[in-house]
Every structure is written in structure tokens, then in C-alpha cells.
């Protein structure tokens, strides 16, 4: 393949790449740079370079040192497994060699740092104090994600199956189930706030009028708020999964089912042997979309609970927002990076898993 053709091929991704570099890659490095800074105590605009202090504060010194150690070891292993071989086929051997050396040195340095840190910890008895406010907010995000993955996706799948069979009324349901996503988080959030608030108490009134009065309670109170938020989120968002899964279901050729039926397979068999395997990539897509959409949830809690009561619905992105509002720009950047890292790891391992299952 000659240079010119390469260039032509590359030009297909160029527009995407250009927008990307501008809106993601540069801000990413900028965010990273900011995360190494902290404002001084008397001047919030005066950012001082503090190195990885923000990360240490978030993780606590112990976990930070352990993470550095793990990263160091994996870098060294990575280098000695010689993953750069592929590179050396296309390029000069020396490049691969240099990269390998750099990786080993970096890994070694991290490892030494980690060992040194633990030596210090054992000597000085540093107290273990991760930023619980932040990690609790992450926990809340994942609690909602858990609801999204189980309740929301099961509901979406069930409904998609139902509509797939019901050819006549399918059109109607497709329209109706997608109404809520069309409306948007702000409208839904505001409506729900009016419905669920203690005053005027619309939802409780509704429960009473259908004879379920004993279920009426303070939906946005301390025990229920987070679950209410999670369920509202699922209710608002199941339409996305529904539409994708339905489209997936309809790509399965009817002949496959026919053939199975002739072979005497029952409904359950047909479902586990045909429907599920055919849908694997789509199911994984829905799962990843759910995780992304839920961990970064912000509009709904902002409209519905604003993080309350007593911080019980402060999800991770809302926490980042709070930190920004209190002029902790560096700290918030560090939190954002950590959240991004968690999401990247999660999504990529899911994609890998999906590939493994497929093959």
C-alpha cells in the first residue's frame, strides 16, 4: 500500500479525529494538568502545583501507593512479555527496544516509589483516610447503575420480546415506550418532583385512590430517595434499550425459529439457543450504554433531589459539580479523571468479554 492511498484512507477518519482532538484530547491533558493543582487557602484563583496530592487525598496514601505498585508491576510484565514485537515488524527494531526500556524504567520507578511509601507508612503510622464523600458518591452512582442493569434492562428486554410477537399493536407500543426518552430529563425531573414531593403529594394521593394507601410514604426522604431516583431513572430510560433490543430481535430471521420448531424445540429452548446468542452483541451494547448513561447521570438528580436529603442522592458527577462550585477545580478534575478511568476499564473489559462470547 503506498503513501497516497494511506492518506486517502486516513482522510475518512480525519474529520472525526480533528473534532476529537480538539474537544477531547486537548481538554483531557488540560484536565490532567489541572488535577495536579490546588488553590491556595486565601486565593481560590491562585493554583499551585501540588503533584499527585489530589489523587493521594482521594485514594488515601495507602491505596495510592498500592495502586502505584500494581501499575509498576504490570508495566514491567507488559514490557518483558515483549508486546512491542508487533511494532518492531513494521518499524525499526531500535524503536521497540527503546520503548521497552522506557516502560521497564517507568515501571521500576513506580515500584520503588510504592515500596518506599509503604516503608514510610509502616514507620510513621499514616492514618487511612480516603475521601469518603467522593467514594460514597461513586457508590451511589453504581447503585443506580445496578438498578439500570437489572431492572431497566430486564424490563426493556421483556417489553421488546412482547412487542416483537405482537405485530399488530407493536407500532403503538413503539411510539408510547419512547415517549419518555423524547421528553428529556429536565421535564421528567420537574414533573416527578411535583408528583413525589410531600406537598402536594400527588403520587401518594394516587396510591390512596387506588387502595394502596399503606404504600404511601415520603418518596424523597432519607430511606427512599436514592431508590426513587434509581427507579425514576430506569423508568425514564428503558425506551432506549427497548428500541435497540427490538431492532435486534427483528434482525433474527423467522426461518431460524421455524427450523427449530420443526426440530421440536420448545419456546424456552428457542429462546436460549437462538434469541440470546443472536443478540449477544446488541445486549452488550445496551449494557455499555446503560453504564455510560447511568454513571454520568446528572440532569435527573439535579431536578429531582439536588443531592439531598443529607447528601443521600449526591451521585458522582453531582459531587464533581459541588467541588467545582466550591472552587476546588484541581480536585474536581482529579475526581473526573478517576471516574473516567473506572468507566474506561469497565467498558473495555465488557467489550472484550462480548468478543470472547461471540467467538
Amino acid at each position: 500500500m503506498n503513501k497516497k492511498e494511506q492518506l486517502i484512507n486516513f482522510s475518512f477518519v480525519f474529520p472525526a479525529l480533528a473534532i476529537f482532538s480538539f474537544f477531547y484530547i486537548i481538554p483531557f491533558f488540560y484536565t490532567f494538568w489541572l488535577s495536579l493543582h490546588k488553590a491556595s487557602s486565601t486565593n481560590v484563583l491562585d493554583l499551585n502545583f501540588v503533584g499527585v496530592q489530589n489523587f493521594k487525598d482521594i485514594f488515601s496514601f495507602q491505596i495510592f501507593a498500592a495502586l502505584a505498585g500494581i501499575l509498576g508491576i504490570s508495566l514491567i510484565v507488559f514490557a518483558f512479555k515483549n508486546k512491542f514485537k508487533k511494532l518492531s515488524l513494521n518499524h525499526k527494531k531500535s524503536l521497540a527496544k527503546t520503548l521497552q526500556t522506557i516502560t521497564v524504567v517507568a515501571g521500576g520507578a513506580l515500584l520503588i516509589y510504592s515500596i518506599g511509601a509503604f516503608f514510610n507508612i509502616s514507620k510513621e503510622a499514616v492514618s487511612f483516610s480516603p475521601d469518603l464523600q467522593w467514594w460514597n458518591s461513586v457508590k451511589r452512582s453504581f447503585y443506580i447503575t445496578f438498578w439500570g442493569l437489572t431492572f431497566q434492562n430486564c424490563l426493556a428486554f421483556l417489553l421488546a420480546l412482547g412487542v416483537d410477537r405482537a405485530a399488530r399493536t407493536g407500532q403503538f407500543y413503539r411510539v408510547v415506550f419512547f415517549l419518555l426518552p423524547v421528553l428529556g430529563e429536565v421535564i421528567i425531573g420537574l414533573l416527578l418532583r411535583i408528583m413525589l414531593s410531600h406537598y402536594p403529594g400527588v403520587f401518594n394521593h394516587l396510591l390512596e385512590s387506588v387502595g394502596l394507601g399503606q404504600w404511601a410514604q415520603n418518596w424523597l426522604g432519607k430511606d427512599m430517595a436514592l431508590t426513587t431516583l434509581a427507579v425514576s431513572h430506569c423508568w425514564r430510560g428503558f425506551g432506549y434499550g427497548f428500541i435497540i433490543l427490538l431492532a435486534g430481535l427483528q434482525t433474527i430471521p423467522e426461518q431460524l425459529y421455524e427450523a427449530a420448531r420443526i426440530d421440536g424445540a420448545n419456546a424456552l429452548h428457542r429462546f436460549t439457543k437462538i434469541t440470546i446468542p443472536m443478540l449477544v452483541p446488541i445486549i452488550f451494547l445496551v449494557i455499555i450504554l446503560t453504564i455510560l448513561g447511568t454513571v454520568q447521570i446528572i440532569g435527573l438528580p439535579m431536578a429531582l433531589t439536588r443531592g439531598g436529603p443529607a447528601g443521600r442522592t449526591t451521585v458522582s458527577v453531582l459531587r464533581i459539580f459541588e467541588d467545582l462550585n466550591n472552587s476546588h477545580v484541581g480536585y474536581a478534575s482529579a475526581e473526573g479523571l478517576i471516574l473516567g478511568l473506572i468507566l474506561v476499564t469497565l467498558s473495555f473489559s465488557l467489550l472484550k468479554l462480548s468478543k470472547k462470547i461471540k467467538s
Partner: protein, 429 residues
């Protein structure tokens, strides 16, 4: 079909380009103001139109939701893109930072300019919250850095009709915290009526309430020493402060959902005669007026929990605008502020937004409901007048702790311990 589609795209693209040119094309100096006060936007825009008629200068009031405002300002500051005039949310530290970095103009020379007597117009406390004295801990050059356009105080209010109906004299509100609790308890006699409601979903109201009683229970000195780090939050006096919230809870007088309630929702409850007492700022008059013009209420001094020290009441400038020192329209901006704080405009703002004026001499233009917020002046204070302010992380811990006490999830002692721990963790910030 395809042609018309392409035509549509071209049209839309043109429109979008035209749109962004539009905003820059207008000739002559223009003043842009950023603020977060959604309830005042209408009145502001009317004033802008009036100003345009009188002085031929266009003023844009750009409103941002409260939750995103600080971030917008921070980002604009980092990009050197601040508007001509803007409000600053947050502690004095933030105002100090802007002043120190010379992002905002020191207005003292303009205020004190000969024959302008601009400075003399204002109520002192309103200017004071925007000023830095000599040798302040922030090391900011002494001066006035913001122009107050209205005043406020955050006070206890009681509903006269409800108190009377329960057999209490409507002009002698409770003086001690115990009396307050027992009167509020009688709300249980009435259907759907509560003893006390306040917008404690918005945490700053909680911090305000807490500091009011911290002054009452330990005095200003000890309170400030806690901030300095010389007195721990686990001090018995602080436990007493936190215990007040437990008392409120145990008396069963709090409106359900009080800690998810926002300010306006609480105002609505008070305006519809459904709570005996509330704790709110003078801006609430506007809502009360809109919902129930017949509402009879008055302010009262904070019911004392202790006889030794006076309680505190937050009061000062409601909204202040600062001037971007790098603005090309500095002169026009300052002129506009001067105009905005003239008696005529201030009276207009009183009428339209029901907020207290920031200038003196408008007593006869201020309705009784509003001037009631100027009573109890002996207790007036403002965090921006204290020589030191608490770290925002600690304030956050206090607010969260109090909310936890109110919903019965934690005891005052636990909360005190947690706050002390937070204080310890961030003591170097």
C-alpha cells in the same frame, strides 16, 4: 425532495452563522451583566430598556441557573472572558481572590469622587460586606469592591393569624427557644399545618441557622476561635448547637421533607398559612405577596437558647455586582451601577421584586412587610464581616451533619465528631 432538503441545510447553516455575527455587530458600547437571580430577571430587563431609552446604551442581563453559575464564572475567569459586570457567589475568600488577582476593580475612587456622594447613598452594612479593611487576612488592598443593589436579612418569621387562632398574642412572639418549641407544637391541632418550615434543602440556610445559634450559645469570639482551629467542634457548646436540631426534630414541629424542601417551596407553605414559623430571607416577601397578598406575618428576633450571648442575624447586601477591571466598557458599567442605585431605580426594584433597597432614605417607599426585615438590627452580622471564614469542606460537613440530625440518622455527638474530623483533614487548606 432531496433538493429541498439540501436547501434546508444551507438555510440552517446560514442562520446559525448569522446568529453568531449578530451578537457582535451592534455598534456602540454595551454592558453585559451575568447573574443568577431568576426572580429578578424581568425587572432587570425592564430597567435595561429604560436605560437604553435614557442613555442610549444597551445593557444585557444574562441569567444562569444558580447551580451552574459559579462554574461559569470560574471558567470565564480562567479564560479571561469575564463579562463587564457580574455577581460573585460564595464566601468572602472568593471575592478576595478576585480582588487580589486584580480581576475586579477597586471602586473606592469612584465612590469617593468629589461631589458624587455615591458612597454616602448606601446603607453601611451593604457596603461593608463588599469591602476589605486594612490588614485583612486575605491581604487584599483595602477598598470597596462591589456595588450592592439590594439589601437582605434572614430572619425568623411568624404567621400572625395562626398564632392568634391558637390563642397566642399576635404581637408577642416567643422569646426563648423553649417557648418557640411549645408554641410550634400546637400546630399539631390543625390539619396539614406545621410548626416550622424552611428551605433546608438549600444548605446555606442551614449554615445560617447554625451560626445564628452558635453566636447565641458561645458568643462571637468562641465561634471565630473554632474557625481558627483553637476550639474543637466537639466542644460542649457546639454539641448544644447541634442538639437544637435534635430538639426541633423531637418536638415534631418540622414540616415533613424539610431537608429536601427548597427555599421557594418553604415560602409557598408559609404563604398558604400552613406553618407557624419559618426561617427565611427578605427576598421571600415577593413570593408571599404573589401567592397570598392577605398573609399576615412579622419578623421576630431568634428565640434565645441562652441568655448570655446575643444571637446573630445574617444581613447585608442581597446582590452585589462587581466590575471587571479588564472590561473595555468600565466607565459605562460603573455609570450604569450608579444609575441603578439611584433612588428612582431602587424604588422600581422595591415595587417589582419586593426586595429591600441598598440605599438610605427610602423608608416611605418600603412596605411594612419588608421594613419588618430591618428590625432586630442589633443582631445583624454577615459572614463577610467576620475576620475569618470556615473552610467550605467543613461548612459542607456541618450542613450534611445537621440534615442527618434532622432526619434522625445521627446524633449531635456523632455529627460533632465528624465535623471535627473534617476540620482536621482540611486544616491546611
Amino acid at each position: 425532495m432531496r433538493n429541498s432538503f439540501i436547501y434546508l441545510i444551507v438555510l440552517a447553516v446560514c442562520f446559525s452563522f448569522a446568529g453568531c455575527n449578530n451578537s457582535q455587530k451592534n455598534s456602540g458600547p454595551q454592558v453585559t451583566i451575568w447573574h443568577w437571580m431568576s426572580d429578578r430577571q424581568d425587572a432587570f430587563e425592564q430597567l435595561a430598556q429604560k436605560y437604553k431609552r435614557e442613555k442610549k446604551i444597551t445593557v444585557h442581563f444574562e441569567l444562569f441557573p444558580h447551580s451552574a453559575y459559579t462554574q461559569k464564572i470560574n471558567a470565564a475567569e480562567a479564560a479571561n472572558d469575564l463579562p463587564d459586570l457580574f455577581g460573585i457567589l460564595g464566601e468572602k475568600r472568593v471575592l478576595a481572590s478576585f480582588a487580589k488577582e486584580k480581576k475586579i476593580e477597586d471602586l473606592t475612587p469612584y465612590m469617593e469622587k468629589q461631589n458624587s456622594n455615591w458612597k454616602e447613598r448606601f446603607i453601611e452594612i451593604c457596603l461593608a460586606v463588599n469591602s476589605f479593611k486594612k490588614d485583612n487576612i486575605y491581604a487584599v488592598k483595602p477598598g470597596i469592591y462591589g456595588v450592592p443593589i439590594d439589601a437582605m436579612s434572614i430572619q425568623f418569621l411568624y404567621n400572625k393569624d395562626l398564632l392568634e387562632r391558637e390563642g397566642f398574642a399576635s404581637d408577642s412572639p416567643p422569646e426563648t427557644f423553649q417557648d418557640f418549641l411549645s408554641i410550634a407544637k400546637s400546630a399539631k391541632d390543625e390539619k396539614d399545618t406545621y410548626g416550622f418550615a424552611s428551605g433546608w434543602g438549600e444548605t446555606w440556610l442551614i449554615y445560617c441557622f447554625t451560626t445564628n445559634y452558635a453566636f447565641d450559645l458561645m458568643g462571637e469570639e468562641k465561634f471565630l476561635n473554632t474557625i481558627k482551629g483553637e476550639v474543637p467542634y466537639t466542644d460542649p457548646d457546639w454539641i448544644k448547637v447541634f442538639s437544637l436540631f435534635k430538639d426541633l426534630r423531637e418536638a415534631g414541629i418540622l414540616a415533613p421533607g424539610i431537608i429536601t424542601m427548597n427555599n421557594k417551596e418553604a415560602e409557598q407553605i408559609f404563604a398558604t398559612n400552613r406553618t407557624f414559623f419559618t426561617f427565611n430571607g427578605s427576598w421571600g416577601v415577593n413570593t408571599y405577596q404573589q401567592i397570598n397578598p392577605q398573609l399576615k406575618y412579622a419578623t421576630m428576633p431568634p428565640p434565645k437558647a441562652n441568655q448570655k450571648h446575643p444571637p446573630a442575624i445574617w444581613a447585608g447586601a442581597g446582590t452585589s455586582f462587581v466590575v471587571n477591571s479588564q472590561s473595555e466598557n468600565k466607565k459605562e458599567s460603573i455609570d450604569f451601577l450608579k444609575w441603578l442605585t439611584e433612588a428612582r431605580q431602587q424604588v422600581f426594584l422595591i415595587k417589582e421584586t419586593n426586595n429591600l433597597p441598598s440605599i438610605k432614605g427610602l423608608k416611605k417607599d418600603t412596605p411594612d412587610n419588608m421594613s419588618s426585615f430591618l428590625s432586630n438590627q442589633q443582631y445583624f452580622t454577615h459572614p463577610r464581616l467576620w475576620r475569618i471564614n470556615e473552610n467550605s469542606r467543613v461548612v459542607e460537613a456541618i450542613n450534611r451533619g445537621v440534615q442527618n440530625i434532622v432526619i434522625g440518622a445521627k446524633t449531635p455527638e456523632e455529627v460533632a465528631k465528624e465535623v471535627a474530623k473534617t476540620k482536621e483533614r482540611y486544616k491546611n487548606e
